[in-house]
C-alpha cells in the first residue's frame, strides 16, 4: 500500500499535538488513562488483536466500504468529478462503528464488562450499543435531553439493542453535557467501566486511538482510488464535528503530494450570526473535555451554546489533531450553513438515490460549491460518513411535514 510518511510525529509521548491535546482531567482519572495507554499500546503490537479487529471490520461491518462516482451530480455541477467514500453502507449506518469495535476489543482485553458512551445524533450511541450487544457487555449511553427529543428513533434503536439511555439535563442539554456526564460516570465506576469516546477528542490516548481505528477509511481510499481512476484525488473533503470521520480519511493522506484536505464545519445560521458550531473557524484555543483545542467560548472562558441542524456536528470543540493541522496549514477548514447542507442533502437524494446524513451533507455541500470552479478532470473525494435515515424527522420538519 502506498502510505506517505506523515510529516509530523504526533501525539508525542505526553499526548500533545504541538500545543494541543494533552491530559487535562482530574487526578482520579489519571491512573485510568495510564492503564488505557498501556493496554492500547499492547493491543497495537499484538498481531492477534489486529487480526481480530480486521476480521470484525470485514465480516460484521462489511468493509471495505466502496467508493462511488457520483456521475450524474458531477455532470450537473459541471466541473470536477465527485467520488463518495460510502461509510453510510457500514453496519449501523455510519463510520462510528469502526471506532466502537476497536475500543470494545480493547475493553474486552482489559476485562471491563461495562461500557459507557456519550452521543449527540445517536449514531455513536447506536454503534456502541451494537458492539456491546455483540460482545455481551453492559452498556449505558449518555445523551443530552434536547438530543433525546431530536433523535427519537435512535434512542429507541439503542434500547432495542439492550442499552440504557440516560438523558442529561445539565448545561445546554446536548453533546458536550453528555460528555461531561459520561466522564462523571467513568470517574465513579473506574474499576469495571470502559469509556468509549466517539470522536478524536478527550484526553490522550483517545484522540490518537480513535484516529488509528478510523484510519481504515483513508487507508482503503489510498488503495481504491488508484484502482478506480488510476490516481489519488486532488481534494479530500469531510465534515468535522469532533473530527473522527475527517481524521480517519485525512490521516493516511497527510503528506501525499498533490492532495488537499478540507474539513467542513457547521456554520449553522451563518458564522456572523453566532449560531453555529464552527470551532476551528470562529473559536479560540482553550481546555475542555481533557484536551487543549479550539473552542467556542465567551470572553470569560465559558463554553457557549452551539447550533447546527445536524446534532452530530453540534459541539463547541474539535479534536486536537485538527487544531494542529489547521495551525500547520496541513488542512483547510471551511463552513457550510444549515441551508446549504439541506440543499446538498436533497440533491444527493434526487440525483444519486442516496439519502446522506445531515452531518455528511455539509461535506457534500462544500464539494458542490468547489466542483464547478474546477476543470472536469479534477477529482474530489468526499467522505459520506453516514446515511440519513436518522434525519427524516429533522428534514421533514424543515419542510413543514409532520409524520
Amino acid at each position: 500500500m502506498q502510505m506517505a510518511d506523515t510529516p509530523y510525529q504526533f501525539p508525542d509521548a505526553s499526548g500533545h499535538f504541538g500545543p494541543y491535546g494533552g491530559v487535562f482531567v482530574a487526578e482520579t482519572l489519571m491512573p485510568a488513562l495510564a492503564e488505557l495507554r498501556e493496554a492500547y499500546a499492547a493491543c497495537q503490537n499484538d498481531p492477534e488483536f489486529v487480526a481480530e479487529f480486521e476480521y470484525e471490520l470485514k465480516h460484521y461491518v462489511g468493509r471495505p466500504s466502496p467508493i462511488y462516482h457520483a456521475k450524474r451530480w458531477s455532470g450537473i455541477l459541471g466541473g470536477a468529478q465527485i467520488y463518495l467514500k460510502r461509510e453510510d453502507l457500514n453496519h449501523t449506518g455510519a463510520h462510528k462503528v469502526n471506532n466502537c469495535i476497536g475500543q470494545a476489543l480493547v475493553a474486552r482485553r482489559m476485562g471491563k464488562p461495562r461500557v459507557i458512551a456519550e452521543t449527540g445524533a445517536g449514531q455513536h450511541g447506536v454503534a456502541t450499543a451494537t458492539v456491546a450487544a455483540r460482545y455481551g457487555m453492559e452498556c449505558v449511553v449518555y445523551m443530552g435531553s434536547e438530543d433525546v427529543k431530536r433523535q427519537v428513533a435512535n434512542v429507541y434503536r439503542m434500547k432495542l439493542l439492550g442499552a440504557t439511555v440516560v438523558p442529561v439535563e445539565s448545561g445546554s442539554k446536548t453533546l458536550k453535557d453528555a460528555l461531561n456526564e459520561a466522564m462523571r460516570d467513568w470517574v465513579t465506576n473506574i474499576a469495571d467501566t470502559f469509556y468509549i469516546i466517539g470522536t478524536v477528542a478527550g484526553p490522550h490516548p483517545y484522540p490518537m486511538m480513535v484516529r488509528d481505528f478510523q484510519s481504515v477509511i483513508g487507508k482503503e481510499c489510498l488503495v481504491q482510488m488508484p484502482e478506480m481512476v488510476g490516481r489519488q484525488p486532488d481534494y479530500v473533503i469531510a465534515c468535522v464535528g469532533g473530527g473522527s470521520n475527517a481524521m480517519g480519511i485525512f490521516h493516511p493522506y497527510i503528506g501525499v503530494p498533490g492532495v488537499k484536505l478540507i474539513g467542513v464545519e457547521a456554520a449553522g445560521d451563518g458564522i456572523e450570526t453566532g449560531r453555529h458550531s464552527a470551532s476551528l473557524s470562529a473559536g479560540r484555543p482553550g481546555v475542555l473535555h481533557g484536551n487543549r483545542t479550539y473552542l467556542l467560548q465567551n470572553e470569560d472562558g465559558q463554553i457557549i451554546e452551539t447550533h447546527s441542524i445536524s446534532a452530530g456536528l453540534d459541539y463547541p470543540g474539535v479534536g486536537p489533531e485538527h487544531a494542529w493541522l489547521k495551525d500547520a496549514a496541513l488542512a483547510d477548514y471551511v463552513g457550510i450553513t444549515d441551508d446549504e447542507a439541506l440543499q446538498a442533502f436533497h440533491n444527493l437524494c434526487r440525483l444519486e438515490g442516496i439519502i446522506p446524513a445531515l452531518e455528511s451533507s455539509h461535506a457534500l455541500a462544500y464539494a458542490a460549491k468547489l466542483a464547478p470552479t474546477l476543470p472536469k478532470d479534477k477529482i474530489l473525494l468526499v467522505n459520506l460518513s453516514g446515511r440519513g435515515d436518522k434525519d427524516m424527522h429533522t428534514v421533514a420538519e424543515r419542510s413543514g411535514i409532520q409524520f
Binding site: M30, V187, I190, D300
Partner: protein, 274 residues
C-alpha cells in the same frame, strides 16, 4: 511564609484541625458571596475555598453543577470572583482564600494575567481541577513566582509515584479526594482514608486535607482524626439552597459551628509535617 502555611502552623501548635468550607462564588446570587464568606469565618473556617463557576464542571456532582449554572446565569465571571476576594480581603487579612475551578477561565484570561490579578486581589492558592501536575508545570511556576500556592488533588486511585509528582509541583496543602467519583457523592470509605493519609503525608511533606463526601459532624470528626484538614462543599451548597435568601448566611454559620465543635473535640492532633 504564605498565609496558608501560617494557618497550618498555628493549628498544629494548638493541636487543632483545619476546617475548609467551599462555596461557589455568585451562588445563590453575586451579592451574597461576601456575606457568605463572612459567615464561613464566623462559623470557624480556617481557609475558604471559593468555587469559580464554569459552564462544564466535569468533576462536580449535581449540587455544585446547579450552583455553577445559577451563578453563571447571573453573570458571574472570573473578574467578578476576584472582585469578591478583594472585598473580602479588605476586611479580613488572616483567612486564606483558595480559588477552586477549571482551567479554561484561567487560560481565557491568560495564565500570567490571571496569576497577577489573583495575587493583587488577595488570593492565596488555586486548585485547578483539570490541571494535573504534568499539564501545570508553567502554571504552578507562575503561581509560586507570585507567592500563590498551587494546590493539587490526590485520589484513592493515585499511586505512590503520583504522590511524588504532585509534591514536586504543589505547595500549601494536598487535597485528598476521599472517594472515586464526583463532588457530593456519598460513598465515603473512612478506613481507606485512614490507611492512605499517613502514607501521603509522609510522601508529600505538606498538610493533607480530605474532601468529597463529608456531610456532617460525625464524618468530619472521623476524617479530622486522621487528616490535617476537612473540606466540606456540597453540603454547604445544599444548606444555602434550602435557606430563605435572608437567612442563608446565618444558617451556614450555624452549620459550620456544628462541624467546628466536632473537629475541636478531636483533641491532640498528630503530625502536620510542616
Amino acid at each position: 511564609m504564605s498565609r496558608i502555611q501560617t494557618v497550618f502552623q498555628r493549628l498544629q501548635g494548638e493541636g487543632r484541625k483545619a476546617l475548609i468550607p467551599f462555596v461557589t462564588a455568585g451562588f445563590p446570587e453575586p451579592a451574597l458571596t461576601l456575606p457568605l464568606m463572612r459567615a464561613l469565618v464566623e462559623g470557624g473556617a480556617d481557609i475558604i475555598e471559593l468555587g469559580v463557576p464554569f459552564s462544564d464542571p466535569m468533576a462536580d456532582g449535581p449540587t455544585i453543577q446547579r450552583a455553577s449554572e445559577c451563578a453563571l446565569a447571573q453573570g458571574m465571571s472570573m473578574r467578578k470572583v476576584l472582585d469578591a476576594v478583594r472585598a473580602f480581603r479588605s476586611e479580613n487579612a488572616a483567612t486564606p482564600v483558595v480559588l477552586m475551578g477549571y482551567a479554561n477561565p484561567i487560560e481565557a484570561m491568560g495564565v500570567e494575567t490571571f496569576v497577577a490579578a489573583a495575587r493583587d486581589a488577595g488570593v492565596d492558592g488555586m486548585l485547578v481541577v483539570d490541571y494535573p501536575p504534568e499539564e501545570s508545570v508553567a502554571f504552578a511556576g507562575a503561581a509560586k513566582g507570585a507567592g500563590l500556592d498551587p494546590i493539587f488533588l490526590l485520589a484513592p486511585t493515585s499511586s505512590e509515584q503520583r504522590f511524588a509528582d504532585v509534591a514536586a509541583v504543589g505547595s500549601g496543602y494536598i487535597y485528598y479526594v476521599s472517594l472515586k467519583g464526583v463532588t457530593g457523592s456519598g460513598k465515603l470509605d473512612i478506613d481507606e482514608v485512614a490507611r492512605r493519609i499517613p502514607q501521603i503525608r509522609a510522601a508529600v511533606g505538606m498538610p493533607v486535607g480530605v474532601g468529597f463526601g463529608i456531610r456532617d459532624a460525625d464524618s468530619a470528626r472521623r476524617i479530622g482524626a486522621v487528616a490535617d484538614a476537612v473540606v466540606i462543599g456540597s453540603r454547604i451548597i445544599e444548606e444555602i439552597e434550602q435557606s430563605p435568601r435572608d437567612e442563608a448566611a446565618q444558617r451556614v454559620a450555624a452549620f459550620m459551628r456544628g462541624i467546628r465543635e466536632a473537629l475541636d473535640t478531636i483533641g491532640s492532633a498528630k503530625g502536620v509535617t510542616q
